[in-house]
Symmetry: C2
Subunit: 228 residues, 2 copies
Amino acid sequence: MAIRALTFDVFGTLLDWRSGVAGALRAGGVVDDAEGLADAWRAGFFSLTAEVNSGARPWGNVDEIHLDALDRVLADRGLELPGEERRRLVSAWHRLDPWQDAREGLEALRRDRVVAALSNGHTSLLVDLARHADLRFDCLLSAELARLYKPAPDVYLTAVRLLGVEPAEVMMVAAHPLDLKGARGAGLRTAFLDRPLEYGPGSPPREDPDADVSVADLHELVESGVSS
Amino acid sequence: MAIRALTFDVFGTLLDWRSGVAGALRAGGVVDDAEGLADAWRAGFFSLTAEVNSGARPWGNVDEIHLDALDRVLADRGLELPGEERRRLVSAWHRLDPWQDAREGLEALRRDRVVAALSNGHTSLLVDLARHADLRFDCLLSAELARLYKPAPDVYLTAVRLLGVEPAEVMMVAAHPLDLKGARGAGLRTAFLDRPLEYGPGSPPREDPDADVSVADLHELVESGVSS
């Protein structure tokens, strides 16, 4: 079955959230280990999305979850920040820079296949990010549409349904084995895109031996033939 | 309240569906009054979407409704076409050419505001159309997400919710007073974009005195200041 659409994870796979968020934290006065705090914030985000998926927490979009996760991570570290500054930090997730190959890579892949974002970010957040980074997608598909977060199967299946194709006609592209495992569980094909700097230099290497394709950047994905 | 997003009707407002569909009908052997049949097909489509909105008909996407409406209009005229040909004609609605100002106009409007499609077309149909016509939107918002058709208020309100703004921060742009009336009913602002050739030369003139803005093309909309 031919691949008719590529769906892309956004945070970490196309955008360098860690540098952007650490920079915003530093600008907000968190000068001590801003990168470590960004990592803890990201981990807290994942914990809360898992609570949404389990039903322990009502649906809330990424801005709402980011604000709650930030409150917790600041409290853990005994840091105080005014509410206005916390909201400014949450909005920093709307203005993240892309990895160097992202813009041109998506353009090249779009020539022969539908290229969609498939992100936990809500639609309006994805609009802001795509505009900021000048990334062109054929459409933005958000976990918001299923009111669950990746890796819940419904998120991938909602995207597949909206694309009007079969699950096996879609390839999920992500730097995160957990995301790809969720996609495979929903019947999608998967491409592991290595982003060794997502968590900074020296972070543990990742791989996904179960992925259909593993590539070091988007140009390799173009050359792999999935787009032709 | 500033306008933060422009939402665009697609069929007729950005794309010349009539020429494309009449051409496909002619190529399919309907040589006698192909334009008239295209008009009747379009009218039949609107009747069936009204049935969906009233609850008399279950939800079906535009492809499904187009096929049903085509069957009826062919039967009305005593025309026979094989099923394969009917499906080919339905797919002609996925490959329509844009009005001459559409591509550049959207690009210019995107500089300062979010520009989204807000169409009765389902997401995958909008993806095909935007790719075919090379129209760049910040996102595609479909009536499919509300499982109702314009001018039902829920269609506009779903779009507004996904854009993360207030209704009055969104301006609906369309060549169709009924669409704009629906948008105003949901609290949006409206721009009437005249497309005097949508139903061919000599068709009755249209206007919308209740619209906030009335323009003759997208360049006039840029100059009207809604985008700056």
